[in-house]
């Protein structure tokens, strides 16, 4: 069944999917990869972002991506507040490992149940001019509902990369993950820096949720489908490496797409996670981890 046409389409579809995976995983890359906080509620915030897009789309006809952008400050504040509670209740007392994990599990369930109570459990979709349309570039079909999330995902990655490398707060976030005491000696408050980083991570979830609902319908429990992928991409890319997250996301996207096209979709995720295990066996810190 091999043809160059199919190969080109599979690779492009994989790249587009990878861009979306990167957007969904950035928050985890920041919070889990850089801050070492196992925020397993991150996918629930993504779904919360998806529902925000759904509500604004259904009520005011607002574009889902625009909603995602508009809601980032709101999600930033939610994230900052969640971190403060987490810090005050667990991290400050050195109880962040197990009890912190339970805390985030609790948040995940609270978000899921709250969404169920408010919106019911029907599948929710959004309308946008680019959903359901595609263009053909020399025999390669590109669906807009994947192209738009991919472009936004790449833009998010670049923005975060630039923020972390070129701004004071960004460098401080990189520093807090390496040496908290040294950061304090430089006059920066590690707690404030971590609050900012956590807030940015959750804000990224708002936008990722908007991207998600443009691609597929969501219900409150959709978050469970993404937990494994998000953490796998972060670990594969290397903890704390934003560029690594992007590379890992694209790798998984392309592998899934190639396997689906040529060997049957059943193999796609098995091979993706097989690659993850293989990479970790050779490079335990991930592709770009230190």
């Amino acid at each position: 069944m091999f043809s160059w046409d199919l190969l080109a389409n599979a690779v492009v579809a994989g790249l587009l999917l990878g861009g979306f995976y990167a957007a969904v995983s950035l928050g985890v890359g920041l919070i889990f990869g850089l801050l070492d906080i196992a925020n397993i509620a991150q996918p629930a915030f993504v779904i919360l972002g998806a529902y925000a897009a759904y509500v604004m789309n259904g009520t005011y006809g607002l574009d889902p991506i625009l909603t995602g952008i508009l809601f980032t400050p709101v999600f930033y504040l939610i994230g900052a507040a969640v971190y403060r509670v987490y810090y005050g209740s667990f991290e400050r007392r050195g109880e962040e490992s197990l009890r912190g994990l339970v805390f985030f599990f609790g948040i995940l369930f609270i978000i899921e149940v709250s969404l169920s109570l408010k919106f019911g459990v029907d599948y929710r979709l959004v309308q946008a001019p680019y959903i359901g349309k595609s263009i053909d570039l020399g025999g390669v079909g590109i669906a807009y509902r994947y192209l738009v999330p991919c472009v936004v995902g790449l833009a998010m990655t670049l923005a975060l990369y630039a923020f972390l490398g070129r701004t004071f707060y960004g460098r401080a976030i990189m520093a807090v993950s390496q040496d908290r005491l040294a950061l304090r000696l430089m006059g920066a408050d590690p707690i404030q820096i971590k609050t900012i980083a956590f807030g940015i991570g959750i804000a990224a979830a708002s936008l990722a949720g908007a991207l998600l609902i443009t691609i597929a319908p969501v219900i409150p429990s959709t978050d469970r489908d993404y937990i494994g992928r998000m953490f796998a991409i972060t670990v594969l890319g290397g903890m704390g490496s934003i560029g690594g997250t992007l590379v890992a996301a694209i790798m998984l996207g392309v592998i899934e797409s190639l396997m689906s096209t040529f060997f049957g979709p059943s193999w796609s995720q098995a091979v993706s996670f097989g690659v993850l295990l293989l990479v970790l066996a050779v490079r335990p810190a991930g592709l770009f981890g230190r």
Binding site: G132, A143, A216, S260
Partner: protein, 425 residues
């Protein structure tokens, strides 16, 4: 002391004791007569199947209210005891153990869906319970448990029930399709449907050019659809759950997959939220269904009243506002159980099962008679085609003409638009 226990005092004490005993004995007897009949079940109120589980619960609650308004069953009010099974089969044994041993329910029914009925059947067999399954595909094929019944109108051969109408329709078309692509999710229902579809492919002499499964949490379906398109099949049979159904249909439009027939076993397309969101993308899809607001089905006694009540309560309950898929059957399931209890004048599990096996029931979905394996004696899985849908308004789906029944002939309400591409114009 001797003075205290004088003879009049002894008589008074005896009288008090007698009255107390009489009250004590009579009290519970009176209460027992008014004790509710408890019907227990687990239901998917969260998780992947909750979009159907919650409407099913609402239908059961409407039945309970209707029955209680008429004085209950056997003169006793009906009470529902239910727990959220979270669409997780692992929770089912615990839920039913609690229902039977702690809540002491009198009767149980299954939760919604094949995956959730599967772990219940061994419990029912061990405890000799009578169980009516709510939309389980071929759950009893291995066990052949005689006290299991199933409300989905799959018929005596449940494995092929989803697909039979699709392939029978295909065989009648001109030009007759020669090749088929089969694709289904790696989950219990789609896999059962795929087994049936493969059998029918052989029966109808078609050539399979694509036959693959995919993981249920797949995000991008375009590579799958593109691979199918590369094999150039005449017809494409899809067995999918709601998110995949949406993904497959969108991908088919984006990739430009236009076989002569497309659809078959796609769960979710009939959900109101999906229909209103997908709009005209649905046009031409030929898919299984159980209910449509078409004249032959709406003529069944009682269904209009039920749907009116359901639709009035659906918005507040946050569930599918039209309820054309599962709710009438959930209500019918309870009608069967209620009629069996009344007819046997008791709660004896075996007598209820014997009665259900021997009787034809009048319900809001029509006459139901169960066959040997607990399935409907005669199958009635519909094959519908979405036609002339424009825009995303919900009102167009309330009446006939948008989900035209093509199969079986006794409920046929229109003709197929063939090939698929013709319906897209």
């Amino acid at each position: 002391m001797k003075r205290f226990l004088c003879r009049p005092m002894i008589w008074i004490l005896v009288a008090v004791a007698v009255v107390t005993l009489a009250v004590a004995a009579g009290g519970p007897l009176t209460a027992r007569a008014a004790d509710p009949i408890k019907i227990g079940f687990g239901m998917a109120l969260t998780g992947g199947l909750s979009a159907n589980g919650k409407p099913a619960l609402l239908a059961v609650q409407i039945w309970k209210d209707d029955v209680n308004k008429k004085g209950g069953l056997l003169g006793r009010p009906v009470e529902l005891v239910f727990y959220d099974d979270q669409t997780n089969p692992a929770t089912v044994p615990g839920i039913y153990t609690k229902l039977l041993d702690v809540d002491k329910v009198d009767l149980v029914i299954s939760g919604y869906g094949t995956n959730l009925i599967a772990p219940l059947l061994p419990i029912a067999m061990e405890r000799k319970l009578t169980i009516i399954g709510m939309f389980g595909l071929a759950n009893n094929e291995k066990y052949q448990y005689p006290n299991y019944f199933q409300i989905q109108p799959a018929g005596p051969d449940p494995a092929t029930s989803t697909a039979i109408g699709f392939f029978e329709l295909a065989a009648k078309q001109n030009p007759k399709p020669q090749t088929v692509a089969l694709v289904g999710a790696d989950a219990e229902y789609p896999q059962n449907a795929m087994v049936g579809a493969r059998e029918l492919v052989k029966r109808f002499g078609l050539k399979t050019v694509y036959d693959k499964n995919y993981p249920p949490n797949t995000v991008d379906y375009t590579p799958i659809v593109r691979a199918i398109k590369a094999t150039n099949p005449d017809i494409v049979f899809v067995a999918s759950y709601p998110p995949d159904s949406v993904g497959m249909l969108r991908a088919a439009h984006e990739v430009g997959l236009q076989p002569k027939m497309f659809g078959g076993g796609m769960v979710g397309l009939m959900f109101t939220s999906v229909m209103t969101s997908m709009g005209s993308l649905l046009n031409g899809v030929v898919n299984y269904d159980f209910w449509a607001p078409e004249p032959p089905l709406m003529a069944i006694p009682g269904v209009k009243e039920f749907l009116k009540e359901y639709q009035a309560r659906a918005e507040k309950a946050g569930v599918d506002p039209l309820g054309y898929y599962l709710p009438p059957y959930s209500y019918a399931l309870m009608q069967v159980l209620g009629q069996a209890v009344e007819a046997t004048k008791g709660l004896d599990q075996q007598k209820i099962a014997d009665h259900i096996r021997a009787t034809e029931f009048g319900t809001v979905v029509g006459k139901i008679k169960f066959g040997k394996n607990g399935e409907w004696a005669k199958g009635r899985t519909l094959m519908v085609q979405y036609q002339k849908i424009s825009g995303n308004g919900i009102d167009q789906f309330r009446g006939p003409g948008k989900k035209v029944v093509l199969y079986p002939d006794e409920f046929k309400s229109g003709n197929i638009i063939y090939p698929y591409a013709a319906a897209l114009k």
